[in-house]
């Protein structure tokens, strides 16, 4: 019974998603995101060089040429290769962080909205405190205190995104818990966790999918910003924000070093945002 229910939900979600074809904006977004996902998956195949291979001959003239299409950086590393490998960095850190933040945020939001009372008050108070920090200040404190690494960046994103997701899920739970099918489930004597995760959460999925997609975009920006501020992944990991930071001072001589990674991160974030807008559009139709 539960199995076929889940199967039905998945099919319906997929049917919804294929409606995206009717939103040109959403399709552009989907194309950009799919492009970068493919680039990240096939990085070893399509990358012309390793991300940290130094071509010392290229140091004489690092500008784009036939052997290095996007040029090289100040250490003779191929920019195209680093942009390609950099997509792997972003597309592992962001999904992991967003997924964990969603798991915790959904749980806390469901608990707060379903039980209300002191559980709600406690979760709200803690969320309020975290949300009172401007996000960038929290990022700086967390990374300064615990040091820059992929794991710490993921933890910082989770720490900052979770209360926001909790808020959204709580709000939707407060609304959905008054529905008749919830009363029916309670009457059947279903356990509270079953009601929360099988009855409430799937019915809140529309706005949550859109938010998750937008959040992937924000998280991509956050990873890039941390890299740009010198708080990102330690070198020599290829990281778009870090590439811009390393070459920003040289922009007046070799603008290509900063332009290509800046264009890469922009196209990925624009992709997530347009995809989210397309999905919002089709979910508002009914």
């Amino acid at each position: 019974m539960a199995m076929s229910d889940t199967g039905g939900t998945l099919t319906r979600t997929w049917a919804r998603l294929s409606l995206l074809r009717e939103s040109p904006v959403g399709m552009v977004g989907a194309a950009l995101v799919v492009f970068w996902v493919l680039v990240a998956i096939f990085a070893p195949v399509i990358s012309p060089y390793g991300p940290n291979t130094n071509d010392l001959d290229a140091l004489v003239d690092p500008s784009p040429n036939a052997t290095h299409w996007f040029g090289t950086d100040m250490q003779g590393r191929d920019i195209l290769a680093r942009v390609i490998w950099g997509s792997r960095t972003v597309l592992t850190v962001a999904p992991v962080a967003v997924a964990v933040a969603y798991a915790i945020g959904c749980l806390l939001g469901l608990l707060a909205g379903y039980y209300r009372g002191w559980v709600d008050t406690l979760i709200n108070r803690i969320s309020d405190i975290i949300l009172s920090f401007p996000a960038i200040v929290l990022y700086i404190i967390v990374i300064m205190r615990f040091g820059p690494s992929a794991l710490n960046i993921i933890l910082a994103v989770i720490f900052i995104a979770t209360p926001q997701i909790t808020r959204i899920v709580r709000g939707m739970t407060l609304d959905l818990r008054e529905r008749e099918y919830i009363a029916a489930a309670k009457m059947r004597g279903e356990p509270a966790l079953y009601i929360m995760f099988v009855e409430i959460l799937p019915n809140a999925r529309g706005p949550l999918i859109v938010d998750a997609c937008l959040r992937m975009g924000y998280t991509t920006i956050a990873i890039g910003v941390l890299g740009f501020l010198g708080l990102g992944l330690p070198p020599p990991t290829p990281d778009w924000g870090g590439m811009v930071k390393d070459s920003y001072a040289l922009m007046s001589i070799f603008p290509h070093m900063a332009l290509f990674p800046a264009a890469a991160i922009t196209s990925l974030v624009v992709g997530f945002s347009l995809l989210a807008d397309g999905m919002r559009e089709i979910s508002m139709r009914d």
Binding site: I136, V137, V225, P255
Partner: protein, 313 residues
């Protein structure tokens, strides 16, 4: 109204107390590092112990927290190890510079986003609406450092019209007004989209109300319907959102200040964090949270005054 204000004020004080404890605790797990940092890696354990005692770091955490809190409340923000001056001597100048930048950006962003939001929202689904909506999604999706790179390569490197840095230093040969153009442009581009979408959504909603239909049916021109009937009501909901942008502009402009070497509050926070200057980071974080919580309360109060139908209890 007064009761609501007092309640919010109490919650502000409570939040600030918890935040101050968190900010203090974040850097207090390993006070030994402070001594190593000041004396260098080649100092002996004995030297470090003596310095720790001198600095009072051997006392229990809560005692040092209360002392620190007392100092902060009486206006002593500690000594900056990066700038080699008391934090008080640097933080106010930097806040002033950021406020200056924020005010200009705010003065450009608010009228522009209201104009775009109203134009998009007055005819939902029109070509103009789609263009503005998609355009605002795109501008908001460009990270500030990336739009800094794009704008700099056009206006600084390509055309040579503007300077690439905004150090507020007259000696660089560029007037301050020219230095501010790109930082303001980056802030406005990044921040604009969100406000435009809020104004648009509110406008779309107002345009479906019966009194708008009445105004149209009684023969008013479209212009009068928009200016005299729709505009004022459409501005209530986005008011809070607009006010919250002050918060972003004062505390969130770290990236813009880093891109253009602007001597502001955000850059001070970043530089002090990168060089482990704890006193400055703590003071700056407290200020950032204070600004953030205060603008939220101001937003709520303003919203309440604008919209008499809503009264918080």
């Amino acid at each position: 109204m007064l009761a609501f204000f007092l309640k919010r004020l109490a919650s502000l004080l409570f939040t600030m107390l918890v935040v101050s404890a968190l900010v203090f605790a974040a850097f207090e797990f390993t006070p030994g590092q402070v001594a190593t940092k000041i004396l260098g890696p080649f100092s002996t354990q004995d030297q470090r112990d003596r310095l720790m005692e001198e600095l009072g770091l051997h006392r229990p955490v809560y005692e040092r927290y209360l002392e620190w809190l007392g100092n902060v409340l009486t206006g002593d923000l500690g000594y900056s190890t990066l700038y080699k001056v008391p934090v008080n001597d640097i933080i106010w100048d930097r806040l002033g510079n950021t406020l200056f930048l924020a005010m200009i950006a705010f003065a450009v962003m608010v009228p522009l986003s209201i104009l775009l939001g109203i134009s998009a929202g007055m005819r939902e689904g029109s070509k103009l609406d789609r263009t503005i909506s998609v355009g605002s999604i795109v501008t908001t999706s460009v990270p500030e450092f990336a739009s800094g790179v794009f704008l700099a390569s056009i206006f600084v490197i390509g055309l040579g019209w503007l300077p690439g840095t905004a150090t507020l230093d007259q000696g660089a040969g560029w007037p301050i007004a020219a230095q501010l153009v790109l930082p303001v442009a980056v802030i406005v581009l990044y921040d604009l989209g969100y406000v435009v979408r809020m104004v648009r959504a509110s406008m779309v909603e107002v345009m479906t109300r019966p009194y708008i239909r009445t105004a149209v049916l009684k023969g008013l021109t479209f212009r009068d319907v928009i200016l005299k009937h729709a505009l004022r009501n459409a501005m209530i909901a986005p008011f809070t959102v607009i006010l919250l942008q002050i918060n972003y502009m004062i505390t969130g402009v770290v990236v813009v200040e880093a891109v253009f070497a602007y001597p502001g509050f955000g850059r001070m926070l970043l530089d002090s964090a990168l060089s482990q200057d704890v006193a400055t980071v703590q003071a700056a974080s407290l200020f950032a949270v204070l600004v953030s919580v205060s603008t939220q309360i101001a937003g709520d109060l303003g919203y309440m005054m604008l919209n008499p139908r809503i009264r918080f209890s």
